[in-house]
Each structure stands twice: as C-alpha cells, then as structure tokens.
Symmetry: C2
C-alpha cells in the first residue's frame, strides 16, 4: 500500500504511537494538538535550528536506503545543535512526500529518523505531513538546551586563536563522487566513504565535551566545507584565518578518489562539504591537552589545522612555506547541486 | 536577475538586514549562526508549530500574488499559534525555491512574510534556503508564549460545553472554487472570497482575548473544515458533538457560489477548510456575554454553532429537528488536493 491509501491522520497517529514513552523534561505536550507545549527550565537557554533536505538536490533516492534518507535529514539538524555545544531535546518534522510513497519505505524512513533521535534523546514532538507530487522534501526543526550564556557562537574567534577540527575531512565529498561515477581502485574505501555521505554522525557528545572542558571562542559544524564554514566564523568574528595544508586530516580513501579523478585532494576537505565534523577555535594551548582524552572517548582525532589572524581573508600555507588565498566559497544551494 | 544569480548567502543577508531592530525579548540571538538562541521567561510556557505550503498542492502561483504566497505560508502557522491562545514571538523559515525565481518575486514574497510577521511582532530568527527544482515549498516553524499552564488544548472539551466559532465560514473554499472555474454571478463577492483563500487573517488577538476573558475548555483553528477540526477536538477530548445547521455563519457569497455549482452551501463550512477561524468550547453561558465586545473589538461575529455531547460521533441538526451523522472527514493531504 502507498501512503496515499493510508492517509495523513493515520500516518500521524503511527508517529505518535512510536513516540509513546519517549519525552524530554521540557516537553509538556507533544504530538496531537495545534502546537507542542514547552516548559523552559531555569538557568538554561535554548537553541533552535531548521534545515531542509530535498530529493535530487541534497540526495538521490537511488543512493541511500530509506533508513539513511530519514537518518540524514535528522542528522544535519542535530549537527547544527552540536555546533552550539547544546544538547538536543525535541524535534519537529515537516515531511512532504509523494502520495505514491510505499508504506514500507515510509516505515524504514521513520526508523532512520527515530533511531537517530533516540540515540540523542531527541523525540519528535510535532510536525506536518504534506503531499509533494515531485519528490521528498524533508524539513526538521530541532531544539537544544545549554546552560544560560554558554552556547558557543560563531562570533567569538580572536586573532591568535587556534583552529581545530574533529574527525577526518573530505570523506562525504569523496563518497558522493563514488555515486556519481565509477572510480577505479576505490573499492577498498567505497563503502566507508559512501557511509560518510549517506549516514553522517552528528558530533553532539563531542561538542558538549569540548564546551564543558575547554573555553571555546567559536564553533561551527562543517556542512559547507572547511573554507566556507571557517569563512562564516571569520565573517561573524571580524577576523581572518590561516590554514596549514599539511595539517588537514583527510579521511582514508579521499586521496585515492581525488587522484583517480585528477582532483586536488585538499579541495574535498575545503569545498566538499557535508562532513558534519566540528570546527572550533580556542586560545593557544587550550585544546592540545584534550586530544588524547578526546580520541579515547570518541574514537576520533582532534586536529589543529591553523590559526585565526587579525588580517581578514582566508589563506592556506603549504609545506614549503608558500601562502595562497582561499576563496571562502561555501556550498551555495542556488549555485551548485550535490547531484 | 534570478535568485540563483544572487546566491544563498546574499539572500540570507538580505533577510537578516530586514530583521535589524526587530526582536522579541526571548531571542538572545537571531539569524547568523548555526542556531538561534532563546532565553525563556519565568512563568511562561512556549508553544511551537510547523507547517508546509507546497506550490500546486496548497496554492497555485497563478492565483496569488508573490506577496500573498509569503503571507499565506506565514499565516497558516500564526493560526496554529492562535489556536493555543498564545502570542507569537519568533519564526523560522525553511524556504525551498527554484533557482530561476526572479529577484522581484522573492522580494515581494518576503514583503508578505515580513509584513504579517511585523503585524504580530513575530520576526524571523532563523531558517534555511534551499533549491527546489520543481516548485516552491515553504515550511515555517513558529514559537509562541502563554502564561504557564494556560495554553488552550484540544483535549479539554466536556459534554454540555457550547461550541463557538469566530467570523464566517466557507469563504476560503468558495474563493478556491472561483479560481478553479468561472462561476456565473459570483462577481459581487469574488474578490472578497478570493482574498479569504489567498490572504487569510490569523485570529491571534481574538484568541488571546478569548483565553484571557473566558474559561475555554478547548480550541482549534479551522484549517481542515469545521467537521474535521471539531472531530479533532472530539477525538482528543473523548466526546462527541452536535452542530446546528441553521447556526453555521456562512461567509457572504458562499451560498451564491455553492448554488451556482449545485453544491450544498454548508459543505463549504464543514469540509472546505482553510478559513483559519477559531473554534472553541466553553461551559454553557460563558461566551454569550462576550459576543458584543468581541464584535466591537475585532469586527467579527462570535457564533454559537452547537454543543459537545457525551455520545461520540459528529451529528448535525436541521431546522426541522432531524439529525444526521457527519463524517468527520478532515482535509487529508494525501487523499485530496486543493488544486
């Protein structure tokens, strides 16, 4: 059966049943009314974000499982909550789907949303189901909590701060390339890279750990590529940045894919986007002592990749000492397409 | 120029500039970071809702001005905030548009969003811009405030309560019919009816007045048609309802359009949907004394249309005393289409 045959209100009721017994202390009432009702806690501030994933713009149905489509649409929003150093606690899902969507697809798609939500204690508290005759269009709105005044913004970076990133970069862009064309010799890394693209891991716990143990001056998640996202930090902070080319931690397999395609591997980290790792800044010496604990807790590298400069603009230093300017070109949804 | 030529980040910057100096006390930081930051006030609760308008499902571009498209997408969400008796204070806009959208269209569209937002002190504090190759897909998420414990839910209606509606019903459905086909003799009312469909007025102030001056047991906004929405109240409250056919306040011109098309006029109120009037319940005698003040303040009727019954199901009483069961058929976005 397709979801047109099941009907909007039955589908909403299914989601409501899935959420039974899953709640957050701030949520006085979830699904089932015109609005959800929230009760703020004293001494906390809340963060809120919204993001849309459009089929054939952000992903193709042939590339992802239904589970991954749901997961990914939720994950990109969780990553924005993480970027503030906040803890997610509630989600609203505005899902537009063709009426011909198969029930089995819809259920697996919900599994992906709900599994990831459960992992981060972030239940669905509301949403909207609409028919979209053309394609899937998936908008989530997420709420998170942080101690009052402690959300980490983009705007606090100061000249002299170190720039750090979590994990490894470029994997999502390389994974996307393996969907777009057959790449000789990519077999060894293909499934890992595709998973980096298809099922990103929002760095929520990692960001909270960093916020709690170090005085971060700014943070962002890497959705547009390091050059673009660091560019956002610089714009909001009124500073510039220098990256060290040799320091950028590339995901295993990125070099192979880039070389096979005649690309410069660093461009996958700088402009590829959708790695959903963290990029943060802190005063010199702040994060170096945390590297080992970070690796042990999360199984991830924490890598220094450059410094904030008073001089505006983004530059990259090569191993021979030569500097070049980087276009702070972020992924522009109207200029380029993931597909 | 089209918005593809302007680019995502320039468009976001335009929206950010429009919001300069417009803020709500709860908003510590608006557009410009991974999330907006909110600071709850003591003794208040917040309500949150999300709703999507899809081109060619909820509206056609040929029927509405760009201004009305923006207005309408914002209005349907404000109406959900109103349905809780809450006061809106912030909005997030996840807007997906073709890259070929003309700049002039986009600016007038923003005018519609911003004018209505300003009217209700509800600035944009965040959002998302994405490319949708097929059509406009407009998702808003709105936040509202109410005194703690006083949001009006769907679930409190009790047997014996009176059922009341604001304004006049069926106008939006009749307006929609005048777009779909030429209706002889509808000229007199056509522009009013079309405006009811294209530029609905969310009843925010009306709902707050009712919540503050009367003890309401439940409230909902009429987005799916009176039968469907009252059905939601009954489902959540575990009751039934009896409507009085003769009491339903039809919008001027609805009878003319329905008669010309061979329809029963009441069906426009019961199943037409998108009037965005309020439907509320209260103990007998509660609202009658407020009718005159309501009319004077808001220029709108407040009309008693029936009673809540212990017996489940929805019935309608004709002027001759005969009762018939009503299918509580709400507008189902997967079953039927507005277009």
């Amino acid at each position: 059966m397709d979801i047109g045959g099941i009907g909007e209100f039955s589908l909403i009721e299914r989601i409501r049943q899935r959420m039974k017994g899953r709640s957050s202390p701030e949520v006085a009432m979830g699904i089932g009314d015109d609005c959800a009702i929230l009760r703020p806690q004293a001494d906390m501030e809340w963060v809120i974000t919204t993001d849309t994933q459009v089929e054939d713009v952000h992903f193709r149905r042939a590339w992802l499982t239904p589970y991954q489509i749901g997961w990914r649409a939720m994950a990109v929003n969780l990553s924005d909550i993480a970027a503030m150093g906040a803890e997610p606690f509630a989600a609203l899902a505005a899902l537009s789907l063709p009426a011909t969507t198969e029930e089995a697809f819809f259920e697996r798609f919900l599994d992906g949303i709900c599994d990831l939500g459960e992992r981060f204690a972030c239940p669905l508290i509301g949403g909207n189901l609409a028919r979209d005759p053309a394609h899937l269009s998936l908008t989530f709105t997420l709420l998170g909590r942080a101690p009052r005044g402690l959300s980490v913004r983009r705007s606090g970076a100061r000249a002299g701060d170190e720039i750090w990133v979590s994990g490894r970069l470029g994997g999502s862009a390389a994974g996307l390339r393996t969907f777009l064309q057959t790449i000789p010799g990519s077999g060894e890394f293909e499934s890992t890279l595709r998973r980096r693209y298809g099922q990103p891991q929002p760095r929520v716990h990692e960001a909270i750990f960093l916020r709690e143990t170090a005085q971060l001056t700014s943070m962002i998640d890497l959705s547009d590529g390091l050059a673009g996202d660091l560019g956002h930090i610089c714009d909001e902070s009124g500073v510039g940045a220098v990256l060290v080319a040799d320091a950028l931690p590339l995901e295993a397999g990125v070099r192979d894919v880039a070389t096979a395609l005649g690309d410069e591997p660093l461009t996958y980290a700088l402009y590829g986007g959708e790695d959903f790792e963290l990029c943060c800044t802190a005063a010199p010496g702040t994060l170096t002592p945390l590297r080992e604990e970070f690796r042990q807790r999360f199984g991830l590298d924490l890598t220094r990749v450059g410094s904030i400069s008073a001089e505006r603009g983004l530059r990259i230093v090569q191993v021979d000492g030569s500097q070049t300017s980087l276009a702070p070109q972020a992924f522009d949804h109207f200029h380029r397409s993931a597909t």
